[in-house]
Subunit: 220 residues, 2 copies
Amino acid sequence: MPHPARPAAGGMSRRSFHRAPEAERRHDLIEATLDCIAEGGLQGATVRQIAIKAGVTAGLIRHYFVSKEQILQEAYRVVIGRLTEKAERVAGTPDERLRSFIVINLTEPVANSRSLSLWASFISRVSVDPALAAIHREGYLGFRNALEGLLADFLASRGLDAGPARCRALAIAINGLLDGLWLEGCLAGELFEESELVSTALSSIEALIGQPIAPPAPTK
Amino acid sequence: MPHPARPAAGGMSRRSFHRAPEAERRHDLIEATLDCIAEGGLQGATVRQIAIKAGVTAGLIRHYFVSKEQILQEAYRVVIGRLTEKAERVAGTPDERLRSFIVINLTEPVANSRSLSLWASFISRVSVDPALAAIHREGYLGFRNALEGLLADFLASRGLDAGPARCRALAIAINGLLDGLWLEGCLAGELFEESELVSTALSSIEALIGQPIAPPAPTK
DNA sequence: GGGATTATTATACGCTTGAACAACTACGCC
DNA sequence: GGCGTAGTTGTTCAAGCGTATAATAATCCC
């Protein structure tokens, strides 16, 4: 418990406080920022509100971030990272990797309403704020290249045409499908049965590729 | 010109102004609100900024809308309406209607960065604001039902299974694909060649349905 | 343990916000 | 044509914003 309460007695005094390592405090502040955005949009993320959520006072934020803009930018990096990091680290056979990529993007923790809230809040400023636009482009291209790579491997493993044109066209369509289903699931998850979106995605993508995707090897 | 300039001479006086019909003024104020949101997100849509954009003073907004919340809600209705109205009024044979639906949703004026800005700004508040959530649900269900109807007609015209389960599954996938491609196009339209998204969507949806969609009848 | 360092608190400042209100002017009406 | 109504303006207010800065408490180091 970092807050051992106020001094025993006597006149006005300051709050007791905990002195945290820099990395941890920055992490906590960014996490608090994301909480505020998820609950009240970018407008809900005021310096004071973030401080309350993090259990500190407003001034401290300026000690770690030169401006409110900066903490928002770093928060956006974290959001994009969480949306893409797991999908970019799939492993196994081409079939397994492609399947994992699909499943990961349509299940927790990537697909939930909080993710969508955060994503949409930032997206609405991407077209206006060049700094956010740069962060966005970086993360997005990585995501699509990862998908394109998975497709190339998958097609090649079947001896099918894995040329750039074919991969690009397929990646555009599949990326669109995944984005759209992710969106539907986040927006109205209660309208879909458990794993309905995942199976819809899998069978749709099989139809788009014209090939079945082998089920995962049974885990003993 | 509604602003014949200030009174000829003499001391300080008020701005001359134009007295507009209620419907027109409300429309102008909502349009100004959308401009503000598109340019600066919801945070850019302050009462004063909206007033400047509309060429009036801030107080007037409260004359037409009981609160800022209310004007934002009505603005959201307009946004959703524009995203769905054209698609819900397609006509012709089942093939033509399905094709039009696809094309409309992936070309101007539905698909552009301004639409996305507006949409994302509001979406980020849908999960937080019950009033906006209601407006959203209303518009969204209409859109998906329209698509489901188009699919049912299309399948029936081929003598294929047009049962509710099949239509629902197809509608989920196609709706996802359209949403996702719309999003990609709005976010990074410059990455795609002219009508690349439309042809991607058409061929992908043909693959999903397993049927070609007849090209539109040549317009004489 | 005690002094130097600095993370953290607390307070203040100037500005913008949504809202409220009184003054004013355009327009319908007779 | 002048009066009444109400659409419109201009001003004000309290609250909240991001930022700046001085005071203070926790930790490091010896």
